[in-house]
Each structure stands twice: as structure tokens, then as C-alpha cells.
Symmetry: C2
Subunit: 409 residues, 2 copies
């Protein structure tokens, strides 16, 4: 008799963005004339840059000719892209990676979800709180998260990131086998300094902890002192896997390309204490369950590293960061406590006294016709906050801010 | 302490295609002048058809404009493609699918590898033998395959498909929780009749067995009586998940798009005997660990269903099937026993008396400079066979056959 994986049944039925959509729809039914502006969803809005568009046209043309056609690519990705990553994303910051430490994927969501396959089912995990739901849910599905008791999972250690600790997570007071870190952070938009990140690397080396480091938003870092990669910290090659994405860097949310770094120095233990290298294990995982991402998407990603591509991508990021700056200035001017938004496309705002996340969300929707994301949807420590994203157009963002201004007065 | 998933360590180190490449390279070193023709690898060679190329250019252009840009698509795929599948691949054969039973993916390899996440880790599995390695390896990685004893996995039931049983697998003599079937078959190129497939559906319904049905090669079926989909059999909606791919249908091995059908009638049991629907579980899996395949690839797939697309795709399949016919005729003319090749792009050839798979492979390589795939690489029952693929160009295929002809005389 085929038995179901019952761990799936432990997952809560509510989806944050589905709940938001439901509430927005209810509002629309009663207010059919209202023109709603969403600053809620973490998706980009600006078109792909010309260098990327040209590269994709070229790749499509190749695929339509006998000489240029490419069938299966390497599961690890094409060397032309891996070399561009090596030379542009890491070498300039003093990080030397081998080509075969770089695995091209179809976006960071797949790999942050799949990476837990490499570790034993009963390893304990730690997450910063609030957190990107994929980290926890992918562990729930395999039974690693344990059971849910009062909103928290029994085998998950939550590391609160709140205004009171300046959004800097404290090292856990108990040993944790695997830690998920995401910087610049989704949802809080905050960053981590080299000194703080060094504490985590040292903790990991001391406790034989594995760090899964999500750097999907690294392109938004403006401050040259803030690390773009965990491998800027000595010793990280021995304890960390890092995830990158072109989704936010270059508007690739619909194009699907990113990459994962699994250093060759990285090991985990067997029950007998033998050290096993994770690089060949991930290679085996990808070779068995993945067939590479689209050739056209890989050529698109390569184009980001050309001089024109770099300049065009920087322009779009600058465009979004202008939104972030306007939002920060306006919201703070109105007396709201805001975080993030300086090295990330997210602004994390404390809700005013007397409002929880959902109450503020609904008030803003009905009062200003603006949609934000209730912070509690990202975890218990997100209660009392909402997230605004800088991914809108300038016009829509300005209009939203105007409305918030008149509504809040 | 981070502990490794030790199931990965049970995987054998040898990779079939890596072993082939090694032997071919050794030959090249000693025969630098030789012009080797590969009829070994299951990858297409003909360019994408014009309808697909045009659709991709249009999609790329859209993505470069403010109005046409698309960010995250639905994890389940765009409705335009799901509707095209529903109307073209199923309705004409009397199969009624709901849109949300169709999940677009980045190719059948991902989903045939990931689907086992839905079932309990200790379910037993059955595979036809020889077999596509992903079915077994993905189960090894989670511990479900058990341990390897003399080339076979302890928790896997092997169903031999050999000349003696006309490549029709027998129903297992013990209860098996999950069965993988692939028709037209990779590697044997054989097909299954409706009557034979009905036996499997009835077995599954009686034993509460789940069938994972891989139909990646369905477009090569010429005989109208051979089922293209397991859902042509009454009752299959209650026991089967089906995998499709555009890789072989339309040369999408580098484009990455396919789809999986999870019917709403399909359930598996909890330990308490409760029936759980698998459609929402797969939806949850995909929403958590996948972010949809490239918009451009989905538009490419949609173009296959236009009148021009259909005609062009059929032309390419006809081109490959001409190779298959020529190969069958020549090899049989030389006295070789051949199977498949009539409704599939693969020819499965018995090696002559006294040659095992690898011996024949080496003899063919050194004698005719032609590469085939040793059958034993697909499982114990593949010993004594080799696989030829029809995916070459006409010229290369003719040349290879000429060489085999003079070599074998």
C-alpha cells in the first residue's frame, strides 16, 4: 500500500501571500473603484536590460540553426557562465573559487529548498526570525523540523531579529547543526557587518555547524564595508554553502537563473566521525535530479557581466534604491520607525502602538489603498512589523507615499 | 555537529556515460585521426523548429519592455501552456484533465527525481529492468532503496524486460508500493499495448500501488493503437502520476520544459488508513521548492501546439524515425537481433554470442569507430544488449551504418 509522506500534513494550510490576496480581493469587491497600489510582493517590475535581451536573442537564433544548436548542457551549468561568476562576483573581493565549486541553477528557491537533502534527517536547524518560509518548510517536508507547538517547530531554533537587538541575531545558546542566514535580509532589509558575520563563522567552525548563506540580495549593498559573500570571512570555506540569484540582481524572476557555491573544503561527518566532502555530494544530487537551466537563461546571465550589462543592471538597482530612499524619508518623516532600505530593497516598519501586523495591513489597505506585507507572516518575531518593497515604479511609489501621508495625518 | 545524509554514500561511483567517455577518450589518444560517430547518447541534434524560435524571440522582446515584462510566474506554470496541453495532448484521446492537474516543470528529470518526496521513506519500489537510473538513484538518496547487494537494491523489486518475455514486464509476485513504468521505453525502445497497460492499472488499483508513468517519448509512437498516456486506461486517474517532456518531442533538452500530471482522484494512505489527495501535496511541494520554469521556455512550448508548430515538430520526429528505420533494416540485415525503433527513437540490440555489453561496445568502437551504449549500464537485465539512438543526422547515421556493415562482415 502506497503510504503518504505524512510530514507534508504538518504544514500549516495558510499561505501568507494567499491570505493577502484574499483580503485584497474582499476589499475590491466592496470598493470596485479603488485603485490599489501594491508595495507588498517581492517581485521586480522593470524590464530586462538591453544587454540581456540581445544576448537572449542571439542564443535563440543559435538554437534555431544546425551549427548553433545545443542540447543537454552540463548539469552544473556552462563554463562560460561559471567563469564569469568566478571572475566578476568573487575575484574582485579576494575570493578564489574553483570553477567546479560553482553550480548554476534555475533560481535560489530551488537550491535553498533542496540543499537540506545533503544532511541527515535528524540534524537540528536554526533560523533567524522573521525568515523566508522556504528554509523551514523544506525541512518540515522531510520531518527534520519536528512538530509544531504554538507556532514554533520543535527541532528549529529561532534567533529573533527585532528592533531591541538592532536586528542582529544572537549566537544560539544551544548547539545547532545547521544555520540559515540571509543577508541582506529578507524580510527586514537589514545587513550584517564583517565583524558580526565573523562571529557566525567562528561559531560554526567551533561547533561543526553548517551555514546555509543566502546572498540573493547582495547586489543591493551600497556600503563597501558590508560583505557581499560569506567567503570574505576567513574559514567560511570550511563551514558555509552560499546561494545567489539573478532574480533581484537583474530582474530574472521570470528568466530563472542563479547559482550555488559548495566549496571543496566543506565537509560534514558520518555517525562514525568520518569527514565527507559535500561538493561531490551536491554534484551527484544535481546530476541525478536536475538537468541544468535553460541555455538561453545562462547566456542571459552571462550578459550581466559585460561592461554594458554591468552598467545597465546597476542603473535598474539604482532606480529601485531611489524608491527605497524616498520611502524611508517619507515614512520616517511621518514618525514611523523604519529599518533596512539602505543596502536592500526592503523596508521593515514597526507598526504604530496598538496595531499588530494584520491590523496595520488592513488599515493601510482601507485607508490608503496601499498593500504591504504583514511581518508576522515571516515568523513570530515579525509580529508588530510590516514589509514594504522598493520594486515598484517611481510613479506608483510616489503616489503610494502621498496616500500614506494624507491617510496618516 | 552537522551530519551528512549517509544514503548518498551508498551510490555507486561509476556513471555510465562518464565510463563511456573515458573509454572513448582512451581510444582517441591512441587513434588521433579516427572520426568517431556517436549513436550512444540520448540527446537530440536537430535545431529548434521555426515556430518555437519565433515564439521565443517574441517572449524575449516582451521581457525587454515595461508593458510586456513578466516577473515570477505561477509555480504551476502559466495557464496558456496548461490549456494548450489539456486541449492538444489529452482531449483528442478522450482524456479530460483539469487545468490544475497539470504542473509545468523544467523537464521530466527533475520531477521523476522529486516525485518520491510525496511518499513515505520506507515504501517499497518496483522498476522495470533495464531502467532510467534516476528512478532508482533518487530513491537511494532518501534511503528508500535499502542497501546494495550484488548489483541490486534490497528494497527494490526488479521486473526484467528481456527478449525471452518480449520486453513485457511481469506483474510482481510480491506487493510493491510504488512502480515506475516508462513507455515508450528508455532504453529498450519497446512499447506497451493497452491490454498490457490495463493489467498494471488493475494491479495498482487492487494492491493500492502508485504508478509513476514516464511518457517522455510518447511523441515517437506511430501505431495509433499504442497508448500515449496511461490515462487512456480506465481507473488510471486513481493510481497514476504521469511525466511528460518536450526534450525529445521538440528538441528542448537545452530549453528545459515539460509537465507532470497529478490527478485529483489520486490518493495515498496515512498509517491510520486515512486517504490523502496527492494533487495538493505536489502543489505544495512545487510552491515551496520550485519557482516555475522560464517564461520564454513556456512560450516556446506553447508554440509546439500551433498548426505550424505541430507540423514542424512532426517533421523532426519523422526525420529521426527515418534513422531508426534505416538502422533497424541494416542491423537486422546483418543478422543482429533488434528491438524497439518502431515507436521510439531507441534500438535495443542483442550482442552477438560471446560478447557482453562492454565487449561489444569496445569492439564496435575500435572496429567501426562507432559509439553505442552498453545495456548493462541500465541494470542487470541490460547485460548482453546495447542501445543505439536515432538522434543523429541522416549523414552520420548512414556513415555509421556503412562502417558497421563493413566491420561486421
Amino acid at each position: 500500500m502506497a503510504l503518504v509522506n505524512e510530514h507534508f500534513l504538518k504544514l500549516p494550510n495558510n499561505y501568507l501571500f494567499a491570505d493577502i490576496a484574499k483580503k485584497v480581493n474582499a476589499f475590491k469587491v466592496t470598493h470596485p473603484q479603488a485603485d490599489i497600489i501594491s508595495l507588498g510582493i517581492g517581485d521586480v517590475t522593470q524590464p530586462l536590460c538591453p544587454a540581456v535581451v540581445e544576448a537572449m536573442h542571439r542564443a535563440v537564433n543559435e538554437m534555431g540553426t544546425k551549427e548553433g544548436f545545443r542540447g543537454y548542457g552540463p548539469e552544473q551549468g556552462y563554463d562560460f557562465l561559471r567563469e564569469a561568476i568566478q571572475k566578476n562576483d568573487f575575484l574582485p573581493r579576494g575570493i578564489h573559487l574553483d570553477i567546479d565549486e560553482i553550480f548554476i541553477n534555475d533560481g535560489a528557491k530551488s537550491d535553498t529548498g533542496n540543499i537540506q537533502e545533503l544532511i541527515r534527517w535528524d540534524n537540528s536547524i536554526g533560523v533567524t526570525d522573521p525568515v523566508y518560509p522556504v528554509y523551514i518548510d523544506s525541512n518540515v517536508m522531510i520531518g527534520r523540523a519536528g512538530v509544531q507547538e504554538g507556532g514554533a517547530w520543535s527541532n528549529v531554533t529561532y534567533l529573533p531579529c527585532i528592533a531591541e537587538n538592532d536586528f542582529v541575531p544572537q549566537l544560539p545558546d544551544r548547539r545547532v547543526d545547521v544555520i540559515y542566514l540571509c543577508y541582506p535580509n529578507n524580510p527586514t532589509g537589514t545587513v550584517i557587518t564583517k565583524d558580526e558575520l565573523r562571529k557566525w563563522v567562528n561559531y560554526a567552525l567551533k561547533n561543526d555547524t553548517l551555514i546555509f548563506y543566502d546572498a540573493a540580495y547582495h547586489a543591493y549593498i551600497q556600503d563597501p564595508e558590508i560583505p557581499r559573500s560569506i567567503y570574505e570571512i576567513r574559514g567560511a570555506r570550511k563551514c558555509a554553502i552560499e546561494f545567489h540569484s539573478y532574480s533581484k540582481t537583474a530582474g530574472f524572476t521570470g528568466v530563472r537563473c542563479g547559482y550555488t557555491i559548495v566549496p571543496k573544503d566543506l565537509t560534514a561527518a558520518t555517525l562514525n566521525g568520518e569527514r565527507i566532502h559535500l561538493n561531490p555530494l551536491w554534484n551527484r544530487r544535481q546530476s541525478t535530479k536536475f538537468n541544468g537551466t535553460s541555455y538561453i537563461s545562462q547566456r542571459a546571465a552571462e550578459a550581466i557581466y559585460t561592461p554594458e550589462g554591468k552598467q545597465q543592471v546597476a542603473q535598474t538597482i539604482g532606480y529601485y534604491m531611489q524608491n527605497a530612499a524616498r520611502m524611508l524619508a517619507t515614512l520616517r518623516g511621518l514618525g514611523f520607525e523604519c529599518y533596512g532600505g539602505e543596502n536592500a530593497p526592503y523596508i521593515w516598519m514597526k507598526t504604530p502602538e496598538g496595531y499588530d501586523s494584520w491590523q496595520f495591513f488592513e488599515n493601510l489597505l482601507y485607508g490608503a489603498n496601499v498593500v504591504c506585507t504583514p511581518g508576522v507572516g515571516f515568523g513570530p518575531s515579525g509580529e508588530g512589523y510590516v514589509r514594504f518593497t522598493a520594486f515598484g515604479s517611481h510613479d506608483q511609489t510616489e503616489e503610494a507615499l502621498k496616500r500614506i501621508e494624507s491617510w496618516s495625518k
